[in-house]
């Protein structure tokens, strides 16, 4: 399972013209030994954590708690997706957490205080995110201030902006049903299965079409068995998830039924597909990797490096706005701490745990989802264990350090073996 799910989509083609399943697996193992771990640490960590928590606290494995994992991890995952664009360039955005707070505050003000409909509020929040990103990006790319300093300044300033928008510490409740629904309502079980069919069918169509196209042109392809294996693995994982989410979670179903996947799940899935497409299938995505890998080479190839860098910050802050909207929906209110405390560290941790390199040039959007899952399991599991906040902070810090350590060591290993 691990092998099939973590194989890169464009995994290097085999050595011989017709690679077999065996050579494919050998190639994968070779890459892992060479330091290209891909999603392996995140998947391993996820399995280990789930097993440990399930043994110590059996309630962890209940259907109700499984649904909690998604609603708890959604905001961090969305912010992490945006951070990956900035991390790919070898930059960092420390302000993403409070940027999401600012956007949530704008959302609350527009929706609740000014009374506009939900789509105006959401658009205002997203536009705020883009303006923030544009400002950060211009300061980094055009003025030339290191991103660490620019976004550290943003980290402090946005904290203040949230306070100002909240009139010194009061909180604004969200009453708009549509915004609240994102985290607190569920897709009907039938629609859940329809979405499942669309996702698996779409993935299968893309994979099989590519395989046929490449075969007909006489290019090296992954063996058809591996392609089917990938599709089957996706179907099994998504199928189990949808099945569990469709279980009745309410204690008394007669009073309030509570089943189906949270609405935020398909939203994140769409964002995942969108950004994965942008990064791996468009020239813009290719240029983003190139700037992260070798800025000078990208410049000489005629790529507008400044534009790419600014756009990455815009995407990052816009995704932070999405995270802010999700957080506001979950809490049904916005307070000065929304997007604060450890949200940013969780998001950076999610990206790095998922396999995105802090050194730039390496990462995928799926990393945010896998890493976000690990972070959600840690938060959730430790909550069930009844640890104090102190212990939680220490453990989360250690996990982040561990992930960054794995990143640094795998990078050193790949430098010595010449693969990266």
């Amino acid at each position: 399972m691990t092998t099939t799910t973590t194989v890169r989509k464009d995994g290097p083609a085999g050595v011989t013209p017709a690679p077999t399943v065996g050579s494919h697996v050998r190639n994968y193992l070779g890459r892992v030994r060479g330091g290209d771990l891909g999603s392996l640490p995140a998947v391993t960590g996820l399995v280990v954590l789930c097993v440990v928590f399930a043994i110590v606290r059996p309630v962890f494995f209940s259907a109700a708690n499984f649904a909690n994992l998604f609603t708890q991890g959604a905001a961090v995952t969305a912010i992490a997706m945006g951070l990956i664009f900035v991390l790919l360039l070898g930059e960092i955005d420390l302000s993403a957490g409070f940027a999401s707070g600012v956007c949530a505050a704008i959302l609350a003000n527009v929706a609740t205080v000014l009374g506009y409909p939900w789509y105006v509020a959401v658009a205002a929040a997203l536009a705020t995110g883009m303006v923030i990103g544009l400002t950060l990006g211009v300061l980094v790319a055009k003025v030339g201030i290191p991103s660490f300093v620019v976004t550290l300044a943003g980290f402090l300033a946005f904290q203040g902006v949230v306070l100002l928008l909240m009139e010194e510490g009061t909180n604004i409740s969200i009453r708009d049903e549509t915004i609240i629904a994102i985290e607190n309502r569920w897709v009907s079980p039938l629609l859940g299965w329809v979405l499942f069919a669309v996702a698996v069918g779409g993935y299968a169509a893309v994979q099989l079409l590519r395989h046929r196209n490449r075969t007909s042109r006489g290019l090296v392809t992954d063996p058809i068995l591996v392609v089917f294996g990938r599709i089957a693995a996706l179907a099994v994982i998504l199928g189990i998830a949808v099945y569990v989410l469709n279980q009745e979670r309410s204690i008394n179903p007669l009073i309030s039924s509570n089943k189906g996947m949270p609405i935020v799940v398909p939203i994140l899935a769409v964002l995942l597909v969108l950004w994965t497409f942008v990064l791996s299938r468009t020239a813009y995505g290719r240029h983003l990797y190139a700037v992260g890998g070798n800025r000078e080479a990208a410049r000489r190839a005629g790529i507008n490096v400044d534009k790419i860098r600014i756009s990455a910050f815009v995407i990052c802050s816009a995704m932070a706005a999405v995270g802010g909207i999700i957080a506001a929906s979950r809490d049904r209110s916005v307070d000065p701490n929304t997007g604060g405390s450890n949200v940013l560290l969780y998001a950076v941790g999610a990206a790095v745990i998922g396999g995105t390199s802090l050194f730039g040039g390496k990462g995928r959007v799926i990393d945010a989802v896998l890493g976000g899952a690990v972070v959600a399991v840690i938060i959730n599991g430790m909550g069930l264990m009844g640890y104090s906040s102190g212990v939680k902070y220490v453990l989360t810090g250690l996990v982040l350090l561990l992930a960054a350590g794995v990143d640094a060591l795998s990078r050193r290993r790949s430098a010595s073996t010449g693969t990266r």
């Binding site: 050595v15 468009t282 990208a298 190839a301």
Partner: protein
């Protein structure tokens, strides 16, 4: 003797502030020939290359490309004419694979989406056309390639675009013996395919192994441009270090390079 030169430079001057780096330089490059550009550190080789590729504007002088006067003011102009430069640091992205690097900045797409199969096919054809068989997969990341293979990818990237003139800046400087031989073979093949090649090198063995003509720069002046068969190893070293060697070089050679035409044609007699 080839017919018209593909690229002809006459009277190129270039100064950086008070420092005059190129003084009345003339250079000709013929299709199907390798022209070696030699000179000591600081002689102006890299500056001359950057003038040809449009990175630096020249102060004065004329460019004639395939018989017509042209002005090259940006790298884009040079690329449009079919001039490609392979720099010493190769300018490859380690985190991208061979195909991605070869098409960087000029990706083929169908609509919004990258057309990977077409790019992979074109890359494979280009490498096959250069008889490159040392890379095992086009989808390898460049970081996993050896120095010679990287050089090969950089050269293949340069010839992918139907280029007419390829300028190579010290392609063998960081390579071992076997890889140097491979790259030189590739350089020779470029010329045999009808391209004009300008090879910058410090290594006299490489220069004599592969070049048809040798152009020597000394302190910003082109002191001689002669056929490789008409000059000896020791004379080239003298030209590089002292700017003159017997009847060649400063004083003797300067008047001839000034005409721009073809100094090589008139010098052989003097050398023998």
């Amino acid at each position: 003797m080839s017919a018209t030169p593909l690229l002809e430079l006459r009277g190129i001057d270039k100064s950086f502030g008070p420092v005059q780096v190129l003084r009345d330089v003339a250079l000709t490059a013929y299709p199907g020939e390798v022209t070696a550009l030699v000179g000591d550190n600081g002689a102006g080789k890299s500056t001359l290359v950057k003038c040809i590729s449009g990175i630096y504007p020249t102060d004065s002088g004329e460019f004639v490309f395939a018989g017509t006067p042209v002005s090259i003011t940006s790298p884009r102009d040079a690329a449009a004419l079919g001039i490609e430069v392979v720099y010493q640091d190769l300018a490859l992205c380690d985190n991208l694979d061979i195909v991605q690097n070869m098409f960087l900045g000029r990706e083929k797409r169908s609509g919004l989406v990258l057309d990977e199969p077409t790019m992979e096919q074109m890359a494979a054809e280009t490498l096959a056309g250069l008889s490159v068989r040392t890379v095992k997969s086009l989808r390898q990341h460049v970081s996993s390639l050896s120095g010679g293979q990287r050089q090969t990818v950089a050269i293949a990237k340069a010839v992918l675009w139907n280029s007419k003139l390829v300028i190579l800046d010290e392609p063998t400087a960081a390579l071992g013996v076997a890889q140097t031989a491979q790259v030189l073979e590739l350089v020779r093949r470029l010329a045999d395919n009808g391209l004009a090649v300008v090879l910058i090198s410090h290594n006299m063995n490489d220069v004599f192994a592969v070049s048809d003509r040798i152009a020597a720069l000394y302190l910003g002046q082109m002191v001689a441009q002669v056929k490789t068969t008409d000059i000896t190893h020791a004379q080239v070293v003298e030209l590089i270090t002292a700017g003159r060697s017997g009847a060649l070089g400063l004083g003797a050679g300067k008047g001839q390079t000034d005409n721009g035409g073809e100094p090589a044609a008139s010098t052989p007699g003097a050398v023998r």
